[in-house]
Symmetry: C2
Subunit: 461 residues, 2 copies
């Protein structure tokens, strides 16, 4: 149903213009850069926009149109939509503001009119008052920000749905800079038609989406039950990480001024989130920490975690953090203890956390991990490899990439440092191994993986 939004063969951009910096120009520019279908600028003032033939109205376009993008002032939107309806268009993104969010009677009236027309002609609507869609695979890109202001991320498998347009664009920009792959991003604004639930359902079926992030202030009234039902089906296939805004009474009031969303009672949302099997991120950092871990790591069979470290102190920090999250850090069993004693110098600590100490080298890690990873009583391994010690030269990290393939067991890495640390981090994350500098954040990310493993029925509570 929503496929025409994401994979249109042809788009009309109504309100296209040649004026520098204007939304109607930036969108045409962005489509020209990446969109592979046909682009039809619409504006009665021009014969041509940026080298493309321009039409006075959607109705004048000689070929069928899959998606109309509307950036004209609010009072003109109903007529544009009617034209699109006559033309047989079935999908429209209304970027324009000036509707209900203004709080004016005229704004409300216009929004109602738009709703009526869309129903009359059977046009699905995203918006109004939104940034619309950024689609990395098809090149649909109505985020009206030039590349200098918002970097476009590489193609990937994370999709996100955001009730805040600014947050969506900041996140795209942020992820691009950090080399995180994105599939599709949607800012839906006033959501007079297509809402979170429709989008979750669509992305749930989408083979280019392996994980969904949601920034939510409030659902449309009466949609709670359906949200839980639809989301439950999706999380059986892929994880949904949700950030709920408007958690406190004061935050809820702020949300009301922001998107007129009924942020509602957080306890109710919390219960719904749990029932639906969504993974809740409680901070900005967690949105990305949890996502990168859930996207790349296999599910956990249990909660027995081992730490291998070259820094005793960080081993202690991590032990605290994991224990606080409810993980078990088993005492090293007798047989493993014996094996480790055989391969490690006497000053190393074979107790979990296994401390290889400051004279460790890549090889020492590798021999230990070769003992740990194949074991059935090891559910996940966290490797702390502070690269300041001379023995860490990079071979360990190549090994980890191999080991991920070979053993398919959850592995997180902690690296703290400067240039070299950043280099190793980039290498590992590119290969699907999440790296953290904070033991506490690593522990919370692993906890999310464990929670999702329970939801998927792979781990026992």
């Amino acid at each position: 149903m929503l496929d025409k939004f994401f994979n249109p063969k042809s788009v009309a951009i109504v309100g296209a213009t040649i004026k520098e910096g204007k939304v109607g120009r930036v969108i045409v520019e962005n489509f020209k850069k990446r969109f592979k279908g046909k682009i039809y600028p619409v504006n009665p003032k021009y014969e041509e926009v940026l080298g493309l033939k321009c039409y006075p109205s959607v109705k004048d376009i000689p070929e069928p149109i899959d998606l109309v993008i509307i950036v004209v002032p609010a009072p003109v939107v109903p007529q544009v939509l009617r034209d699109a309806g006559e033309k047989g268009v079935k999908a429209a993104i209304i970027i324009s503001g000036g509707f209900r969010e203004t709080g004016t009677e005229e704004g409300k009236r216009l929004e109602e009119e738009v709703k009526k027309i869309s129903m009359e002609y059977g046009i699905r609507i995203i918006g109004p008052n939104c940034l619309g869609i950024y689609d990395n695979w098809s090149g649909v890109d109505t985020f009206f920000l030039p590349d200098e202001k918002m970097m476009r991320p590489k193609k990937g498998y994370i999709s996100f749905i955001s009730q805040s347009g600014a947050f969506a664009s900041a996140l795209l920009d942020w992820m691009a800079y950090r080399n995180i792959g994105v599939s599709r991003a949607i800012s839906y604004g006033n959501k007079i038609d297509v809402d979170d639930i429709d989008l979750i359902e669509y992305l749930g079926e989408d083979e280019k989406t392996k994980l969904i992030i949601m920034y939510l202030e409030g659902l449309k009234p009466g949609r709670g039950r359906l949200f839980i039902d639809k989301a439950r089906k999706v999380v059986e296939k892929k994880p949904i990480v949700i950030y709920k805004a408007g958690k406190t009474a004061r935050g809820s009031m702020a949300a009301a001024s922001h998107t007129a969303a009924l942020a509602g009672n957080y306890q109710l949302y919390k219960a719904a989130i749990k029932q639906a099997g969504l993974i809740e991120a409680s901070s900005f950092d967690e949105i990305m920490d949890l996502s990168k871990t859930l996207l790349t790591q296999p599910l956990m069979k249990g909660k027995r975690v081992y730490i291998v470290t070259d820094a005793g102190g960080v081993g202690v920090m991590l032990t605290d953090a994991l224990a606080s999250e409810g993980f078990e850090l088993p005492r090293t069993p007798e047989d493993l203890r014996g094996e480790l004693k055989k391969i490690l110098p006497p000053h190393c600590i074979v107790e979990n956390p296994i401390d290889l100490t400051g004279d460790a080298d890549d090889e020492r890690y590798i021999t230990v991990l070769e003992k740990l990873l194949p074991r059935n009583d090891v559910d996940a391994v966290i490797v702390v490899a502070l690269p300041q010690i001379p023995g860490i030269r990079g071979k360990l990290f190549e090994y980890l990439v191999e080991a991920k393939r070979k053993y398919n067991k959850p592995m997180l890495i902690i690296i703290i440092g400067s240039k070299e640390a950043e280099k190793f981090k980039a290498y590992l994350e590119d290969k699907g191994i999440p790296v953290f500098e904070s033991p506490e954040r690593a522990a919370r990310a692993l906890k999310a993986l464990y929670t999702y493993s329970i939801i998927r029925g792979v781990a026992q509570k």
Copy 2:
């Protein structure tokens, strides 16, 4: 008393060597780079080490020695220390391991012998089994890691004391890369003599230290009361941020294997930390978030916080985070509301969070901040400036630097994004304005500032 450790006029490096990669060579190299006093390598095997005249023993050095750095094997350490005592040396850093931490009888015996000799001759000891001191002002640098492995941070006013050597070196490396200024760092290992309390007392009087970070597993037995007394005096002048490791039973067990520290009952430590007026960081991120905020921001007079944002969604996230930390977000008072309505376009929201919306520009922020910052009923301002919107061009950030000088009021900034965001962040942090990408982390940092303001008697509870 401890000044000879940090500002020696002359150092002897016992165990100096020309062998590539050896600790005794790296230390000589590092001293040659930055230390301004006299350097005397000691090793009976060489006449010269890296161009410096080498002596067979400390006793043979013809001039007085302020500090002896010892890197010879443990069994030789007592004799070296006796030589130093004969020579009249009053400070020694024993880098060498092989003492109590080995868990062997011989290790314990050696450690006792070293203690006895140090008392006999009145030599103060840091170590053994430590990285020692990195001092950015005097150039004392016994962290035996070459520059390629551990970047040296720029000169600054943060000092830290770490029970974990590896963590200390990782933190130095990390801070160097992020352009954070450091004064002095100390890894004290087995702390047979100089301990956390002595160091806090020293750094408390040190004019090059404006904030102290502590990584602590456990105090020496019986030192709790003194710790509270000494720390209380220091926090009247400068904040101490503490990270306590070994908080959980399992973490405490890990600490015991790590430094044989008695991590003890965390509830007792927590009470002591509170009583002493220390600021506790509960995660790696918080260590730096809290430190950069406490180091640069004036104290808060109350807990009334205003948000100015160009992104409604981030305003909501931040409102939640601040409310959760117990801050007040006052409704915009009538008089201010009137003033803001006059200067802002009608679609902007004058309620706190003040939402300048996506068409904001630098000037809009500046006019609003000029109304907010001078007010007595505003205790702190958080500015959210997502730089994806076209109007954010940098003038706002220059203004913020001016405003800090002019109004001397706590200000934190939230910026999320890519290259441009990083550029603005670097600019602001260099000028002493802390920047966050996570609303939750900003709220926690402000909370630390508020807590410290209460401790200092500036804010009421």
